[in-house]
Symmetry: D2
């Protein structure tokens, strides 16, 4: 969307950076952001990083040359909630590729508010068929992911 140039965030030195605003829907009665909301923010970061390197969910869903419909599914996640965000905050979701091999992608993700790190996560994502079975990354996925240098 040329009209909204930053909508999918930016890739800077192989780190994907996505701004996320905190709205009513993200908070809970304790006055801060609900812990489950960060899980949604991390997914937005992963989706937009994939989008920027040419991997689109809708396209995977429709199937490729061989007609298989594919999707990504989260297999594992470790979350560390260090500091809370609150309503109106502007956060940035930072996403780094750690590795991509076989049927799995490993990522490291962080959520920052200016110079403070609020939440960090390690995430394992698998490629699955429409029947839910894990399957190897396609050649095209590997090529796309090859555009990003994995974090060491």
């Amino acid at each position: 969307m040329s009209n909204w140039p930053d909508l999918a965030g930016r890739l800077e030195d192989s780190t994907h950076i996505l701004p996320v605003r905190v709205y009513y829907e993200d908070t809970d009665f304790t006055g801060i952001v609900y812990h489950g909301s960060y899980v949604r923010f991390f997914e937005r970061g992963r989706s937009d990083m994939l989008r920027m390197i040419g991997i689109h969910h809708a396209e995977l869903q429709e199937g490729g040359a061989d007609g298989r419909s594919l999707a990504f599914a989260v297999r594992g996640m470790t979350l560390d909630f260090a500091r809370p965000a609150t309503i109106d905050d502007v956060l940035t979701v930072r996403t780094q590729l750690l590795s991509a091999r076989g049927a799995k992608i490993e990522l490291h993700q962080e959520i920052w508010r200016e110079v403070e790190k609020l939440v960090s996560a390690n995430v394992t994502v698998a490629v699955i068929t429409s029947e839910g079975r894990p399957t190897r990354l396609t050649e095209r996925m590997r090529e796309s992911l090859g555009k990003i240098t994995p974090a060491s």
Copy 2:
């Protein structure tokens, strides 16, 4: 599920009644339930009313005798938020069928906390095919809905 007899609520005199607990996820930073959460609660009430009369989403999705995959889609909704709910509250979602003809089901729904009515809604639901096109209620749906007397 015989082990959890009330999980899908109860049908009392053609009104479906579903208990819903307010959790963290349903509230926002103003200390009360987020208005969008009631929209989710109403959907739970409709799904469980349909379930009790024998209409299951999973089954529709898989397709019937003629192989068509069907789903319900909300077409219109009028919401009146009179009083707020808060964390830990036990609410009841009350769902009444108003009419079912052609491709459309009309319902009236209310959310109560003991003797207080908190939210009310009128909802129009359409039956759609997997391509998103509206289609007539199936014979089986009409038979199932016939078990409930529409509210006057």
Copy 3:
């Protein structure tokens, strides 16, 4: 946030326009956007319109000169779901002020995908105190809202 100039959308001729990406979290098993997600998108549009004219939730919550803590609460909403959105779509939420008087703000909102209108809504919002009681718009709110010409 000067780094993300469009994050709160844009005001064009008294209509606020906010881009919204459809993510996993917004869709459901029928393959399209869950109807409750549009309710969240509309709230984002309202919050960002208010933000652009100088009304911030966090600031209201902390209270003004007279120390009262205030918040906005949705009182009524009429929704018309005409066409569905799907994963990866870029939507725009269009928000117009209809009126602001007493304790109430009336708005008209629409969600578009390029040249297609998908969903429209009329929304009534009230100003409430921290005890949940409706209260008149403050002088400062009325001044801020005065920057926008109500749609006729």
Copy 4:
């Protein structure tokens, strides 16, 4: 709520068991339950376990004898997503206390569909003041948690 005896689940041999129905809101376009939904289900399990032993969020929020307003905040979480759930499924959230000391509670949680384990989690929860500072478990919390035998 005597009218809905199972609404907060059951305590069986120090394991809390909560039934959870999968609704539209919990699924995504890939046809299965969105991974973030399990995070919400786990929170429901923890809240209802605490409720059954006499710890209520609303009461904590209002403050105790010494007037301090307290809440629980998730500090860390490790999630393993083994198998997916789908629409209409009845799941059970199983919650076990591992330890409760200082300002922290450690729990192990699992989500099952009949005889299949779908998701498991280890969760660290802290007690925080209304200013977001961690604080020791109160005497009353420790007494309540003492009713449950920690899993070894």
